[in-house]
Subunit: 342 residues, 2 copies
């Protein structure tokens, strides 16, 4: 009897807010070794990564990436171990990183460049390759180091500060001698950001529902203004931070969660970009493979030596992926959102 | 009997829209040669420059420049000739550029660095030093060359295209082999931009009062999308252009006329900065003195050889300056707005 591979397909596009009805669980047999072509590898996934960018792909609109096809496995990063291999460089038991998608097993053409990466799991836990030492970590590194390029003594603010990207941004900025202020939703997340991750301060945006209150809270913890902003959410938080930006400040625009569902959220006062001679730059980390080596070297060293901390929010089993993903979009996760598949 | 110097003072700050009541005409005697200190020069102004940035200074708010003081001469660029001099480098009759302000004469400490520049008026008319070969021209040059940095074949869009800055932006982009599209208010301005300045196309925003119509008009003349946008106005025009921006496009943010009066105008969909991995940069030309020599060299050569064209809108006499300025803010000028003072 063959193994069963359970997958999550996208079966409809969201009208406004995404719902569990946009997804469907599908079961297929896992191919046996004999049925593989030369170069193919079957990977048994241990963890699936859930990330905000996936929401953008669910829409059928002009964006940086092609839309996720309907009636196909949702795309997503995975770590796992090789089960079967017809590729000379991969053997059963090897720990690997890939884009296996929302499923328990994937069949990968390992000859395709970059499709599968072997992992060192001696010093770094496998799941970290989906977080602090993976795409979210490198995203944090690129936006902070290449766009914000902070100098010691400058003030850096990051939204979604307890998230997989935000937590790394702040810790990397602390390593560089900055004053670091997070913005997160809820007292628990803010405590974590300050007490565990070592940020200088954190503003709980849920405790400040009107713009003036949010601005005042932010002002209190950024007495010297803001020199660098790592933007993960947009909306009212973006507007508040804009009002604290200094002359010649830089904003790395990485995510706009607030706008993924439904209508775009405006920026209230774009003239501040001119008034403060700001540089605002959007980026997608996958377009900058040239930084991957430098970034993962720093991130891996910091994780292996315990100087870069992170938290994971782990859902159990592939069937829970849609619900966990919708929760992520609403900020219900706490740290890097994963689905454990074994 | 001494000469009379007529000045325009700012006497109150605008509440919302600026009005002529914010200004007052004041008369003072012009100092005689004997009363000057060593190093001082009296300049008789031929032309005063009126520029949108002046509106920002009329407010008492946090901005890149200190507010214009109340009950003092309005600041502004001037060209004229030396009347009296107690500085060895300046003699009566010399043509000079300075920040003489809204008045007929100014007393300048010529020892102050950059306070007074001698001009070559053999090949270039004096007034051009307030326009195409002056601050507006260098503004155009900086935003285009240093921020947009267009490649031949790319599409560059500029708003306020018939204005002192916009007209130069487009012509410099044509010199660089770009497809150039202007946005201007009215059929006359659009005809001028295409027929006289050599733009490839021009969209008349006054003929497209709803956002969809404006977008469609812009789309029709930017079939390859937009790679560089030189932003002079903000508001609905900014929103429409944002929807045509290509991946890795650049926006030089130079002015936001639409927002100078009253409330800030929002940017409807800032997530496009992320989606298209745009770079948006605000700048003020006076902070980049290092480009002045390169910029005026190119601009001066192009003007002297008739390859850079410009238009002037000339009000007569200092008393007309407030009204001419308010008209400029409403787009009533056609080309560089000057006040002739002789």
């Amino acid at each position: 009897m063959s193994l069963i591979n359970r997958q999550i397909h996208l079966v409809s596009r969201p009208q406004g807010e995404a719902t569990v009805d946009n997804f469907q669980l599908v079961e297929l047999p896992v191919p046996a070794l004999e049925s593989l072509a030369e170069g193919q590898v079957v990977v048994r996934h241990h963890f699936l990564s859930l990330d905000p960018y996936m929401r953008g792909r669910m829409n059928d609109s002009r964006s940086y990436a092609d839309p996720q096809p309907l009636h196909a496995v949702m795309l997503g990063g995975t770590v796992g171990e090789v089960l079967h291999s017809k590729h000379p460089k991969f053997a059963p038991g090897d720990a690997v990183l890939g884009m296996g998608g929302w499923q328990e097993y994937s069949v990968v053409d390992a000859n395709q460049r970059g499709a599968l990466h072997k992992l060192d799991t001696t010093h770094i836990p496998m799941s970290a390759y989906l977080g602090a030492v993976g795409m979210p970590g490198v995203t944090a590194w690129y936006g902070l180091v290449k766009i914000i390029a902070p100098k010691a003594g400058e003030t850096v603010v990051v939204s979604a500060a307890s998230g997989a990207v935000g937590g790394v941004v702040g810790q990397l900025a602390k390593v560089r001698g900055c004053r670091v202020v997070g913005i997160a939703g809820g007292a628990d997340k803010c405590r974590y950001v300050v007490d565990e991750l070592g940020f200088d301060a954190c503003v709980d945006y849920k405790a400040h529902t009107d713009p003036k209150s949010l601005y005042q809270a932010l002002k209190a913890v950024t007495p010297q203004g803001v020199d660098g902003y790592f933007e993960n959410v947009g909306g009212a938080i973006l507007d508040a931070v804009m009002l604290r930006m200094n002359a010649f400040s830089r904003m790395a625009m990485c995510g706009m969660i607030a706008g993924y569902d439904g209508q775009p959220t405006p920026m209230s006062n774009p003239a501040l970009i001119l008034i403060n001679r700001m540089k605002v730059e959007g980026f997608i980390v996958s377009e900058h493979p040239e930084v991957w080596a430098d970034a993962t070297q720093e991130l891996g060293t910091l994780v292996a030596t315990g100087r870069l901390k992170f938290k994971e929010s782990v859902a159990q089993g592939i069937a829970t992926a849609p619900e966990a993903f919708l929760g992520l979009l609403k900020g219900k996760n706490f740290g890097k959102q994963l689905v454990k598949l074994i």
